[in-house]
């Protein structure tokens, strides 16, 4: 009798949980729809012909699909060049990622003079706001003769303290015996790093790699400041130029935005597990 009553209470609790879960799900679905509206509207509008964009009331689904805006971007604007520059920036930032990994490894696995002080110095740079360094970095690059060059665009953001920190955290967990064994086999220090450390660090490399790709693809401020020539513009600088030049042509603007956003969404969908779980790896509690 008693177990029966508690069973009943349990099913009741389960029922009320289910209703509550439905309510939570519906609220989230509505919120999710709201959050997705800009994406949906952007993609659908980029395929509408100019005349349909200016129509009132607006159509949700394009009555007539057209790719003219995308071809216009490449034929009449320099989106091909912007794309090439953006890819160069992304590739260079992967080089930066490698430097971060190297530094993280040294902080994790070597003993050397001034190690702690240097590491605190690295951490301290995380707190410096970009607005303070913006002008001096420009002056420094100018002094080095790097304004209006690809090197000037890439260098300021090449290494990052947070990334070094994450590499250090991860690599400290690698057992020393593994390194000693490789050294006994006669491997040089650099080879130990390349052939033992990096393969083990794959999880953190995956997270950092994706975040680096996204950051490089989206890079805006330094290309904007450093590049005077349109031949050095990245996609985001080109897009902000397009907004200025074609203020009234919304379909073209949406096509440009779609071209920038959709690749990132695809990459995100493919690797979302790494990104979202990356926050747990990085020990953000």
């Amino acid at each position: 009798m008693k177990t029966n009553a508690s069973n009943k209470a349990l099913t009741n609790a389960k029922k009320s949980y289910n209703t509550q879960q439905w309510i939570a799900g519906i609220i989230l679905a509505l919120g999710g729809l709201l959050v997705s509206i800009p994406f949906i509207w952007m993609i659908l509008s980029s395929f509408k012909p100019e005349s349909e964009i200016l129509q009132f009331p607006p159509t949700l689904w394009p009555e007539e699909f057209t790719l003219e805006h995308f071809t216009y971007l490449f034929e009449n604007m320099n989106f091909g060049v912007y794309l090439k520059n953006t890819i160069i920036v992304v590739l260079c930032s992967f080089g930066g990622l490698f430097l971060n990994a190297m530094a993280g490894y040294a902080f994790a696995k070597y003993k050397f003079k001034g190690k702690d002080k240097l590491f605190y110095l690295v951490l301290a740079t995380m707190m410096i706001p970009g607005q303070v360094t913006m002008i001096p970095v420009y002056l420094i690059l100018n002094q080095m003769g790097l304004t209006n060059t690809m090197a000037g665009i890439v260098l300021p953001g090449l290494v990052g303290a947070f990334s070094i920190f994450l590499f250090r955290q991860f690599m400290s967990t690698i057992p020393d015996e593994l390194l000693e064994a490789a050294r006994l086999d006669g491997a040089s220090e650099f080879r130990v790093f390349m052939q033992v450390i990096l393969p083990i660090s794959r999880p953190i490399l995956a997270v950092q790699g994706i975040l680096t790709f996204i950051a490089g693809w989206n890079s805006f401020l330094w290309p904007l400041i450093i590049a005077n020539d349109e031949s050095l513009y990245t996609l985001s600088v080109g897009l902000s130029l397009l907004k200025g030049q074609y203020g009234g042509n919304f379909a073209l603007q949406m096509a440009g935005s779609t071209f920038m956003v959709v690749p990132i969404i695809i990459i995100f969908m493919l690797f979302q597990k790494h990104i979202i779980e990356g926050y747990t790896i990085s020990g953000m509690k």
């Binding site: 240097l118 360094t133 002008i135 100018n142 220090e189 805006f220 907004k243």
Partner: protein, 294 residues
């Protein structure tokens, strides 16, 4: 036993440290020095054109009506932006954490997506949504007989519109931080509370929120620093207008530095922002300490 040479570690950290020193630490000192000079384009070309003017930049900047206005705007962003970001991202994290069905994992992705997208592209899209004539928002509102809203044309409304856009982008990362913190709370606490017959609301206010204190503190500090540096959204969407009503301090610095080439003046502005950030962060740490004392 040490089996590597003394130089090895320095070779590993060398490149990264050099770049960090050059582009993060050295600039602080350069900024401080040039904020006491009248360096401009002529000064860059020939250093003999630069003269030391003491505190002149700092005195002048506090008389600059646009700078004062940009401080007011930035405070507006902080005061309204920070609570909104925390409430929305925490609320969504709680709802997602509540559900056990698989669909709730998919919601994580949907809400996270805006935060990885390019700010320029997003600002371009939102400017279209906000367009008074052809924009989607006013069209949707017209169903409810709401008259056309001047999203980016009215000084106050423009600030609110920019906050809405930045909120949309900020939810994702903070939601993930809250979710990670929520998953760290032991289930036994809730089981014990349920045995005592505590309602959901009681469990939320007596278990969840107190245990999330550290995460809330972390998010509020990073969000506040983010709002103090608010730059890209007003830069791309409104260029600071109408009538400088959306100009943030960061945008003011950028404009003086790179459009008007008053590098010294802009550096003074950036130092004031830096000091403000440090002070506000320290106050928050103080409050947090008091909070945990009892």
């Amino acid at each position: 036993m040490k089996s590597y040479s003394n130089k090895t570690p320095y070779l590993f950290i060398g490149p990264a440290i050099t770049l960090l020193m050059l582009f993060s630490l050295l600039p602080i000192f350069v900024a401080l020095i040039i904020s006491f000079t009248d360096i401009d384009l002529a000064g860059i070309a020939d250093w003999s054109n630069i003269s030391f003017i003491g505190l002149e930049n700092y005195k002048e900047i506090f008389k600059d009506p646009i700078f004062l206005k940009s401080i007011g705007n930035t405070l507006f962003y902080v005061v309204f932006g920070v609570p909104f970001v925390i409430i929305c991202s925490l609320g969504i994290a709680l709802l997602i954490n509540f559900g056990q069905a698989r669909i709730f994992k998919a919601f994580r992705l949907v809400f996270y997506m805006p935060s990885i997208t390019n700010v320029v592209a997003v600002a371009v899209v939102w400017a279209y949504l906000y367009n008074p004539q052809f924009g989607l928002f006013n069209y949707l509102l017209s169903f409810f007989n709401v008259p056309a809203v001047p999203w980016l044309q009215d000084p106050t409304m423009a600030k609110v519109s920019l906050i809405a856009l930045a909120l949309w982008r900020a939810i994702g990362v903070n939601m993930i931080i809250f979710l990670a913190a929520l998953q760290g709370i032991p289930k036994t606490y809730y089981e014990a509370a349920q045995l005592d017959g505590a309602s959901n609301w009681k469990q939320l206010t007596n278990i969840t929120l107190p245990l999330l204190r550290y995460a809330i503190f972390f998010v509020s500090i990073t969000t506040m620093i983010g709002w103090l540096q608010f730059f890209e959204e007003p830069f791309v969407m409104t260029k600071g207008g109408p009538l400088d009503s959306t100009t943030s301090v960061a945008l003011f610095i950028y404009r003086n530095g790179f459009q008007l080439s008053n590098f010294g003046y802009a550096a003074a502005g950036s130092f004031i922002l830096f000091i403000a950030i440090i002070i506000i962060t320290m106050i928050q740490f103080r409050l947090q300490k008091k909070d945990t004392d009892f």
